[in-house]
Each structure stands twice: as structure tokens, then as C-alpha cells.
């Protein structure tokens, strides 16, 4: 069923792109690549690894592994409004409703045999404990080999060495399964692509900082989190280039000035995944999300001569996974660079890592005089959505800002 869904998506988008060969169509190209990834995951003839969010997808790709973080599936089920039955399945088997719905949806899918079976599993201890626990459940359920990358919280030399050594171990673990050693040449190409994508990403984010911003409320939704799945590939580079072209085009043609931008907003953590017209609502009220907290490049270029240490540094450097002082510093820097007027923190139900710091994040914004709206919402499970309440809060917040 899912394979057909992705195949149809690939076909439909390809047809549309063929009708407009000269167009930039960044978002379409991006969705096309994601659909192709989905198709590969469900094709049953690839070597599949289910992973934690911060896994090194470039390194895994260089080793011929089709890999993806499981939250991607949770988000997809939510956005296609097919998660309901999976939530119920997970809850009936004892997964508490207090848990994160990204993971609950995926556990339901595992129990209902609706997830592609992995060849092995690579968990990451960042960003969250809950995510890693779910990965262990997967390994237990599928009876597949399990590898953990422990990502230390502090950026120290010992921490970097420790993670680099684990990454090297991981390549041996993968080789054991594929019977193919890591090809330095392929890794070199992947890291080159990763660096090219990173450079373009920085340029994209710099363009987004323009006032008025050429982005719209939907364009860069959860972009950094998802694009890491393909940054080590030529397709990833091409997508990033298309997004850069799109933003440049909008600026050159003056599109960015035509959209209303009374209020510039920052969105904290991830977006709401199910259809909920918050973007349209913000549009109507003249507000624009110009930056998402997770859309940033916080790492140095990868060094092909020192790949494991480079990747280790990159994995540890994500401010969201570090202690909250670092996370707040990063948010404050972004707030200044993007000249925001306010921020929305969707306190995703069940997320101890991200929204567990609600009060500290609010204080961090207060310290730089930026108002923040804490929305108590489940970003994945729409069953308990109090739509009217959320709408009233957002409207009142924007009234207050203007």
C-alpha cells in the first residue's frame, strides 16, 4: 500500500515537473526526492536501516544503505491523516498516551506490520531518550541487530574522540551486514556533497534573513531536519541549489515585498504535521515564520581525511541536543540575525527533550525582549486538538505584537 502511495507520488510529481522543465520548482523537486526515498524504503530490495534523528545519513549512504529516521514516518502518517489506527494499535498494546506521538504512530505501524522491515537498526542517544527507547523496541520486535551511537551532551575533546570511535565501529557493524567494506572514495564523494549542500544551506538561510523575507510560511518547514537524509548525495545538492534559486528568484522578481510581513516570527522545534491551517492563518494576519529553530548550519565543513571526527563534531554541535544554555544562546543569535518580532513554541505533547524546557526558553526570549507564545499542542496526534483555543491564542498573540 505504502509503496503504491510513493510510486504514485513519484509519477505524479515527475509528470508535473516534465510539463515545466524550465521552472525552479524547488518544493516539488524536494517532495519528489522524499517520495523516491519512501519508495526505496518500501521496495523490499534495498538494505534498510532505521535510525535515530542525528544518525550520519551521508556515511550510511556511502556504504549503500537506505536509511531514514523513524520520526519521518510518524510525521508522514500524521500529514496524510492515516495515523489514527496506528495510535490506537500502539495504545492498545500498552504504549501510554503520555508518550511522544511521533514514536507512538511508528510503534503502531510496527505492530501492524506497516513499516518496512529493517536489516538493522542504528539508534542515537540524541536528541531524546524516548526516541532511543523506541529504537530498542524496534530491534526487539524485528529481532534485528542494534547499534547505538551515544552522542555526548558536551562538546569536549574526549566527547568527540568517543563519538568518532563509535562511528568507526558503526562502519564495521554495517560492513558485517553488507559484506562490503567502507569505500573511502565513496565516503569522500558523500562528504563533498555534504559540504556543498551545507554551503548552499547557509546561503539559503542567509537569503531567508532578508527583510522582507523571501520565504513563505511553508517553504522551509522542518527543512534542516529532513534534508540531512540526502545531503550526502548529488540530489541533495541539487535540491539545496533549487531552494537557493527559488529564494533568489523571489527577491529578483520582488515577490518577497508583495507578501505581507507585518510580523516576523521564529518557530521553535518542529512544525505541526497534520493538516491544520495555521500557516494560512498567519498569512491572513500578516505574520511570517522567517526562521525555524532547527534550520541552521552549526558545523564546520567535513574533512575527508578525518571523516569520523568531522562527523562526530557535527553530531555533537546541534544546539537543540546540547544543554539548554547552549540552546538558548543559539536561539538568541538566530533571533537577532533574523530580526524577529516574536516566537511560537509549539510545546509538543510528550516531548521531554524539547518542550521540557518551555519555561527556560521563555525566559531566554524575555532576556532579549522577544515575546513568545507557548502553544500546548500535539504536533502529530490531532485527536485532541482544541482548534478554537489554538486559533484564539495565535490571533491574540499577533494582536499583541502589532
Amino acid at each position: 500500500m505504502m509503496y503504491d502511495h510513493f510510486e504514485n507520488a513519484v509519477k505524479g510529481i515527475t509528470d508535473k515537473l516534465n510539463q515545466d522543465p524550465e521552472g525552479i520548482n524547488a518544493k516539488k523537486k524536494y517532495v519528489l526526492e522524499l517520495s523516491k526515498l519512501g519508495k526505496k524504503l518500501y521496495s523490499e530490495d534495498e538494505t534498510i536501516a532505521w535510525c535515530g534523528v542525528t544518525a550520519p545519513f551521508d556515511l550510511l549512504g556511502a556504504m549503500g544503505i537506505t536509511s531514514c529516521f523513524v520520526e519521518f514516518v510518524g510525521a508522514m502518517l500524521s500529514s496524510t491523516q492515516t495515523a489514527g489506527g496506528f495510535f490506537e494499535e500502539a495504545e492498545d498494546s500498552g504504549f501510554a498516551t503520555d508518550s511522544c506521538a511521533y514514536h507512538r504512530a511508528v510503534m503502531g505501524a510496527v505492530l501492524k506490520n506497516a513499516m518496512p522491515k529493517p536489516d538493522f537498526i542504528i539508534g542515537t542517544s540524541s536528541p531524546c531518550t524516548a526516541g532511543l527507547a523506541v529504537m530498542e523496541n524496534f530491534a526487539h520486535q524485528y529481532k534485528k541487530d542494534f547499534f547505538i551511537l551515544n552522542v555526548p551532551q558536551n562538546y569536549t575533546q574526549d566527547a568527540i574522540k568517543y563519538l568518532a570511535a563509535q562511528l568507526e565501529d558503526m562502519t564495521l557493524f554495517v560492513s558485517d551486514h553488507t559484506k562490503r567494506p567502507l569505500s573511502k572514495e565513496k565516503l569522500g564523494i558523500a562528504l563533498e556533497n555534504f559540504n556543498a549542500s551545507s554551503t548552499l544551506l547557509k546561503e539559503i538561510y542567509d537569503l531567508a534573513k532578508t527583510k522582507p523575507s523571501p520565504v513563505d510560511n511553508n517553504l522551509l518547514k522542518d527543512f534542516s531536519t529532513v534534508i540531512t537524509l540526502m545531503m550526502g548525495t548529488q540530489q541533495g545538492v541539487d535540491i539545496c541549489q533549487a531552494f537557493k534559486n527559488e529564494l533568489n528568484h523571489r527577491i529578483e522578481t520582488g515577490q518577497h515585498t508583495s507578501s505581507k510581513e507585518k510580523t516576523r516570527l521564529m518557530w521553535i522545534q518542529n512544525r505541526i504535521q497534520y493538516p491544520f491551517p495555521i500557516n494560512e492563518m498567519l498569512d491572513d494576519l500578516g505574520a511570517k515564520i522567517v526562521v525555524d529553530e532547527l534550520n541552521d548550519v552549526t558545523w564546520e565543513p567535513m574533512d575527508p581525511d578525518n571523516p569520523f571526527e568531522s562527523i562526530a563534531k557535527r553530531m555533537i554541535s546541534i544546539p537543540f541536543s546540547m544543554d539548554t544554555t547552549e540552546r538558548i544562546k543559539h536561539i538568541q543569535t538566530l533571533a537577532g540575525e533574523y530580526r524577529i518580532d516574536g516566537a511560537i513554541n509549539p510545546c509538543h505533547w510528550g516531548c521531554r527533550q524539547g518542550t521540557g524546557t518551555r519555561g527556560l526558553i521563555s525566559k531566554g526570549f524575555k532576556d532579549i525582549n522577544v515575546p513568545v507564545l507557548n502553544l500546548e499542542i500535539d504536533c502529530v496526534d490531532s485527536r485532541n486538538l482544541a482548534r478554537g483555543q489554538i486559533e484564539t491564542r495565535v490571533e491574540a498573540f499577533l494582536e499583541m505584537l502589532s
Binding site: 490506537e88 492498545d92 498494546s93 485527536r383 485532541n384 486538538l385 482544541a386
Partner: protein, 263 residues
């Protein structure tokens, strides 16, 4: 010899007298009210008067329900879970899954052929889907609680209430009324919500209920709409309900008293 079972629930205080043949001699269901010691005395008097029996003839008193510790003259206190299982075994012996929705909590039990509990699950501490919840909903719909059971007749929409918290559900019902939604559709929506929650409780004790007889006890079993919705949600043709579902706990208590003496 006579055996008395008293079930002091949050909403009602029930008493049952049985004889040595386990025949029910008398039963009483009254509101517990704020002073449960008085209700216990009244319920006891009711059954003694109805059966024409003196207090001294009672061989044993077993108390159950959340107020079981408050029955001073009891020989023993046994939880309502064990008592409901024992009671249902007497009236519907083939029961293997028992749903008991009472005033403040709902329970699902899996029973062995002898009526022993082999697993059970209780709802969280909130009142969602319980008698109290239905009382609040009846209030919001401005009907008497006894009318609620038939209120969903003829409903055709697939409305489901999203909020199961008593407070939020009440406001959801009020806003549905404000939007002009028909009473019967709201009632059906309510029943579906309770059914979904109950179904999930049952799944915690038995993932697969194929071939198992499902019965329901407790005051809410009188609500035909809820019972039907639960049966539908579990793909069952019917759920068995005893004639007097509210006294099953007290009946079970009385039987336990009998068995303690006669084995």
C-alpha cells in the same frame, strides 16, 4: 443461614441478601450520598425488611466498593473487582470478559471458567466514560440520566466526541448544541467515545476476544445506547447484561461470604 453483601460505590450503595442456595432474597439500590455510614445502615435495613429477616440471622457480611472499609460490622472486605467477577459468574456463568462501568471508574476483567479474575484493567483516575461522566453529559443535554440510554435512537451521523475529559466534553457538548447538532447525534457521539475507551480497556486484558462471552455489570449497563455502542466497537452481536446490573458487586460479595463458610 443468610449472607449479606454490601457494595458502597461512589454513586450508589447496594445491598443483597442470599440464602444457602445462593437465591437472592432481597436487594436494594440507594444513592450513597455524602454520608455513607447512614446509607450503609439504610441499605441494610431495606433488604432485611424486604426479606422479613432479623439482623441476628445474618451469618456473614462482606463489604465491597470504594467505601468497603467504612462498613463496621463486616466480616471481611473484598475489592469490587473480585466481587463483580463472582457475581457475574452466578448470573451469567459463561462470562469470560466482564466490563463494569460504575460511578467513578470503569474496569475490564478477564475471568477463568470458575469466575476467578486472571487479569484486570482500570481506567485512569479521571471520571471519563463513567457514571459521573454520563451524569455530567445528561446535564449538558438537559435530559434525565434515565432518558440518556434511548436518546441516540435514529442517529445517522458518525460524530465522535474528541474530548473525553469530563470538563472538556461538557463544553464540547454545549458547543455542539450551540451549532444546532441534534440531541440524538450528540448522544450517539458520546456513546461512541465511551465505547472506544472501554474497548481499549478490554484490549488491555485480552487482545483477542474471539469466542469469549462478554458481559457488562454496573449501573451504566442499564444504558442501552452505551451497551450497544460498546458491542459495535468490539464487533460483537451483543453484550450480555444481567437484569439488575447494579447489584452484581453486592451479590458477588454475598456469595464470597457464603463460600468462605461452605468453601
Amino acid at each position: 443461614m443468610i449472607f449479606l453483601g454490601i457494595d458502597i460505590g461512589s454513586l450508589s450503595c447496594d445491598a443483597v441478601l442470599i440464602d444457602e442456595e445462593k437465591n437472592i432474597l432481597a436487594s436494594s439500590v440507594i444513592l450513597t450520598g455524602a454520608k455513607n455510614i447512614e446509607s450503609i445502615a439504610r441499605a441494610k435495613k431495606n433488604v432485611l425488611d424486604a426479606a422479613g429477616i432479623m439482623e441476628k440471622d445474618i451469618r456473614s457480611i462482606i463489604a465491597t466498593g470504594y467505601g468497603r472499609a467504612r462498613v463496621k460490622e463486616k466480616d471481611a472486605a473484598v475489592t469490587e473487582i473480585t466481587c463483580h467477577a463472582k457475581g457475574i459468574k452466578h448470573v451469567i456463568p459463561e462470562t469470560r470478559i466482564l466490563i463494569d462501568i460504575g460511578g467513578q471508574d470503569s474496569k475490564a476483567m478477564r475471568l477463568d471458567p470458575d469466575g476467578n479474575v486472571v487479569d484486570f484493567a482500570m481506567n485512569d483516575k479521571c471520571a471519563a466514560g463513567t457514571g459521573r461522566f454520563l451524569e455530567a453529559m445528561a446535564r449538558a443535554l438537559e435530559v434525565d440520566i434515565t432518558e440518556l440510554g434511548d436518546l441516540d435512537k435514529g442517529a445517522t451521523s458518525d460524530l465522535v466526541l474528541s474530548s473525553m475529559c469530563t470538563v472538556f466534553a461538557e463544553s464540547e457538548v454545549i458547543s455542539l448544541i450551540a451549532c444546532g447538532t441534534e440531541q440524538k447525534e450528540i448522544a450517539k457521539g458520546l456513546n461512541r467515545s465511551i465505547a472506544a475507551r472501554t474497548n481499549s480497556l478490554v484490549k488491555r486484558v485480552a487482545r483477542n476476544i474471539d469466542g469469549l462471552t462478554v458481559s457488562m455489570s454496573g449501573g451504566v449497563a442499564r444504558n442501552k445506547g452505551v451497551v450497544k455502542a460498546i458491542a459495535e466497537s468490539m464487533n460483537l452481536e451483543k453484550i450480555n447484561t444481567p437484569e439488575t446490573p447494579d447489584i452484581i458487586g453486592a451479590l458477588g460479595a454475598a456469595i464470597i461470604g457464603f463460600e468462605k463458610i461452605y468453601g
